[in-house]
């Protein structure tokens, strides 16, 4: 019988600084691991601790995986101190990712906040892999300040690609910043999207997801067309340990991507 608590070792083959607090780790697992965009994995520092992260890389590449991680606590802090050549553990992938089948033929509005762009990067790769399937991709991304903007080169590249429409905003600008200043909801005005043929995807801190969801509902998105990445304490990853329960489902099995419709009636979902 397989042991679901055991991880596969993976070597860190590169570490990239994204922002002062965010790094991308490129991992080469000892066994090939393939994932669907939006599924997550448990990343462990053997003998120290483990946490759930969604790969930020292209799901087409099963030889390596990338995780973009912000230093916010004990395990993420220790990961940030790891260097190329270090070894981590991986379990998964777990959960349900983005339902790309539902996205076919539609315009896709992606709203990201802060480090929430990590799973979105993987989603954008996945959408670009089969771009004919989708009408158009809109990315609306908000960061705290200009240095906090992640994946700057890629965001630039996506901006120049005619098939995607990218708009950025920062909560507070600086001398060099020429773009929009304000919360991400301020760049959701004047959308020229046919709402009947569109889905929206939101990933960011809980408070941002709450206000973006309300904004999207106000704009006219139906609850079933809003997809949220719910941040919960997904500890075992396999629906057993109990921690990540949202109402009558577990984020680790039924999520972490949920349509707003499936969770909206549960109490306190935004906390």
């Amino acid at each position: 019988m397989e042991n679901p608590y055991k991880f596969i070792e993976a070597e860190i083959i590169d570490v990239k600084d994204e922002t002062p607090t965010i790094k991308t780790f490129v991992l080469k697992p000892k066994e090939r691991i393939s994932f669907k965009t939006g599924e997550f994995m448990e990343v462990a520092i053997p003998g120290f601790g483990e946490g759930p992260f969604t790969p930020s890389s292209n799901p087409k590449d099963d030889t390596k995986l990338e995780f973009t991680i912000m230093d916010v606590g004990r395990v993420t802090g220790a990961l940030h101190r790891m260097k190329t050549g270090g070894v981590v553990g991986l379990r998964g992938p777990y959960g349900k990712g983005y339902p790309l089948g539902e996205f076919k033929g539609k315009e896709i509005l992606i709203v990201g906040g802060g480090v929430g762009l990590a799973p979105i990067r993987s989603l954008i790769y996945a959408l670009f892999n089969q771009l004919d399937n989708y009408k158009k991709i809109y990315l609306k991304y908000g960061a705290k300040t200009p240095p906090d903007i992640m994946y700057k080169d890629e965001v630039d590249r996506w901006s120049k690609d005619g098939r995607s429409d990218v708009k950025l905003t920062v909560d507070a600008g600086d001398a060099k910043w020429k773009g929009n200043v304000g919360l991400v909801t301020t760049i959701l005005e004047d959308l020229k999207i046919d709402l009947n043929k569109s889905v929206s995807v939101v990933c960011g801190p809980p408070i941002m997801m709450k206000f973006v969801t309300f904004k999207l509902l106000e704009i006219g998105y139906k609850p079933e067309d809003i997809y949220l990445s719910m941040e919960k304490n997904m500890s075992c990853g396999i629906g057993k340990c109990g921690h990540c329960r949202i109402g009558n489902s577990y984020a680790c099995k039924d999520g972490p991507v949920f349509s707003y419709k499936t969770i909206k009636d549960y109490p306190n979902i935004w906390d």
């Binding site: 679901p4 608590y5 055991k6 120290f48 304490n233 109402g247």
Partner: protein, 344 residues
């Protein structure tokens, strides 16, 4: 399958346990002050074991999962176990196995540690015949005697036990000790039914006296309680988040995984966790979906009386009453349910 019944007298029963203990670890309830708790069967003290009466202090899950266990490799390195027989298990515990099995055995990916312990455990259950103030199984439509989920079941009848066979495993135990058992007759089985009925009625009277709400009225009541003022704050006012209610509960299954390093040896542990703890739902960076104690207490009830009915069709509570006895804050699950159902 026609039910099979035997009779064993008390002297033969002790021989039976002695025989069983030769090849397996036998655990049986024994009196300890005001409580009954499991002890490993030792023939020298054969007088002290009480298979009947009431459930032991420990929930049955403590024989199937360890409060802390190493899970790096399966089978676990350096930790073997003997096959075990649990004697005198009561129906509140047997019913709770539906929850533990659902979580660890029946849903993919399965937990091999639990499954191995489950396979290596034989259950010789027993009807309850002692009423404790905290018992309320019947309010939840659970009987004080098991009808399934056991290998053998005992019903005390004067100095004898009427033994019902519940599985092939149980049948084999009788076959191995056939000369200790005689066939039960109709009258004995009828007497058993009468005793069961009368004991169930005394539990019913207790539940009525205490106005413990029934299964039907509890169903859906927690969901509604979210809108009722500060009702949960009131219940939580004496909670000290010790997690005692979680750990003694036969249906609570939550655990945490932790990685540790000692003398340069790295190990991964799976340990019982408690949803009353502040750290339970906390995520990286410190955000906590249930940062208030009342939210955590409410969550415990929500999981038991909303989540499990929805996903499995049964309550995550079997009315064993252990949490009532364990709680230093004197939070009585029956009182909470009563007020929730009344909406005040």
């Amino acid at each position: 399958m026609a039910r099979e019944y035997y009779v064993i007298n008390s002297e033969n029963f002790r021989t039976f346990l002695l025989n069983l203990s030769k090849e397996r670890d036998v655990y049986a309830p024994a009196k300890k002050n005001d409580f009954i708790s499991y002890e490993k069967f030792d023939p020298e003290y054969e007088e002290k074991y009480i298979p009947d009466q009431i459930r032991a202090s420990e929930p049955i899950k403590s024989f199937l999962t360890h409060s802390r266990e190493k899970v790096d490799t399966f089978p676990p390195a350096g930790r073997g176990h003997n096959k075990q027989i649990l004697v005198g298990v009561k129906n509140c515990d047997i019913t709770s196995l539906a929850i533990q099995d659902f979580v660890f055995k029946d849903n993919d990916p399965k937990d091999p540690f639990y499954i191995k312990m489950r396979e290596d455990t034989t259950i010789i259950s027993c009807d309850c015949n002692l009423l404790r103030e905290t018992c309320f199984c019947v309010a939840l439509d659970i009987t004080p005697y098991p009808e399934k989920g056991f290998d053998l079941n005992l019903s005390k009848e004067a100095d004898d036990f009427i033994v019902e066979v519940g599985s092939e495993k149980g049948r084999n135990l009788i076959a191995e000790n056939r000369d200790l058992f005689s066939k039960a007759d109709e009258t004995q089985i009828k007497n058993r039914s009468a005793k069961r009925e009368s004991f169930k009625n005394s539990l019913k009277s207790q539940a009525q006296e205490k106005e413990t709400p029934d299964k039907k009225s509890i169903t859906g009541s927690i969901k509604k309680s979210y809108a009722v003022g500060d009702i949960w704050n009131h219940f939580a006012s004496t909670c000290i988040e010790c997690g005692g209610c979680n750990h003694c509960c036969p249906a609570c299954h939550c655990f945490g995984l932790s990685d540790q390093k000692k003398d340069n040896i790295k190990a991964r542990y799976k340990s019982w966790d408690a949803c009353l703890y502040n750290s339970y739902a906390r995520v990286a960076g410190g955000a906590n979906p249930r940062r208030h104690l009342y939210e955590r207490l409410r969550n415990r009830f929500d999981k038991k009386f909303e989540f499990f009915p929805d996903v499995l069709g049964i309550f995550g509570c079997t009315g064993c009453g252990r949490c009532i006895e364990a709680c230093p804050g004197k939070i009585d699950i029956r009182e909470v349910l009563k007020k929730i159902v009344q909406g005040k």
